[in-house]
């Protein structure tokens, strides 16, 4: 069962990632990325990370990708155009990426002592996770909330810098 689930969802993952590269319209790429993230959530569940599987669906496939599709539609992004420079980048880039992948795969395959994943193994419960998160790692957790607050303020300041003018115009009317 585990084997079949792994192959099905790893296949979905790879198909989505390759489709992301092949599509020329950003909205198609965004939808492929949603497929990748949702199948990754299932793989997390197979590895016993139940909280992360839920967070992956809610945060990544939900919040972040909605933001992406929203921006794609807002900016009315159309098909990408290709120039000579992009061909040069791919000519240099592809061999380098293949070399990196080969090196990583060799290291992984030669590593001894890596275990196996079974369905019967216990999953890390959210209780266990939060016991560590809210005791030992409380300070990083709180710092991250400040980071998110700063990100919200930064996003509003960056995206809405025309706001003063339009408000002024409203006031004139």
């Amino acid at each position: 069962m585990h084997l079949i689930m792994f192959f099905v969802f790893a296949g979905f993952c790879l198909a989505g990632a390759i489709n992301l590269l092949l599509q020329s319209h950003p909205i198609n790429s965004a939808l492929s990325l949603i497929v990748v993230m949702t199948s990754l959530a299932v793989l997390y569940l197979l590895l016993g990370a139940e909280f992360l599987a839920a967070a992956q669906v809610i945060v990544y496939a939900g919040a972040i990708m909605v933001l992406f599709t929203f921006v794609v539609m807002l900016l009315n992004a159309d098909r990408e155009e290709r120039t000579m420079r992009s061909r040069a980048a791919s000519m240099v880039g592809f061999p380098a990426v293949v070399v990196i992948l080969a090196v990583i795969a060799t290291v992984i395959l030669q590593t001894r002592g890596l275990g196996v994943a079974r369905l019967s193994e216990g999953i890390t419960s959210t209780t266990e996770l939060s016991a560590v998160l809210f005791t030992k790692l409380l300070l990083p957790f709180e710092v991250t909330s400040v980071l998110i607050l700063i990100a919200i303020l930064g996003a509003v300041a960056l995206a809405g810098h025309d706001g003063d003018k339009s408000e002024g115009r409203k006031g004139e009317q």
Binding site: C13, A117, L119
Partner: protein, 107 residues
């Protein structure tokens, strides 16, 4: 049925999958010419790394590995918000999302 359920997957397969996802992200970063799609490739790379974090957390039964993935997700959410705001600002200033046309630092 019990032999069917006891089938197991080596963790190295998960690690290879995460390496392939990361490499596909790098390829997308190099090949794609649209600002939004390049940003999506970065998210793909982050997801590939997250998968290897979860795999190693499973290997060593370490909860902290999963918590690290949680932090990566939160930082990625913040990064997506700020990055997309920057993309909107760039689109307002230049009127295009093609990276080959956005080649000046000066507005």
């Amino acid at each position: 049925m019990s032999s069917f359920l006891s089938q197991e997957v080596p963790l190295s397969w998960y690690l290879i999958l995460s390496a392939i996802l990361f490499s596909l992200g790098v390829v997308g970063f190099l090949v794609k010419r649209n600002l939004i799609t390049i940003f999506m490739s970065i998210e793909l790379m982050l997801n590939g790394v997250n998968l290897s974090f979860v795999t190693f957390a499973h290997q060593w039964h370490a909860v902290k590995g999963q918590i690290f993935v949680f932090f990566v997700m939160m930082v990625a959410a913040a990064e997506a918000a700020v990055g997309l705001a920057i993309i909107i600002a760039v689109f307002r200033a230049r009127g295009t999302l093609a990276v080959d046309r956005i080649d000046r630092m000066k507005l």
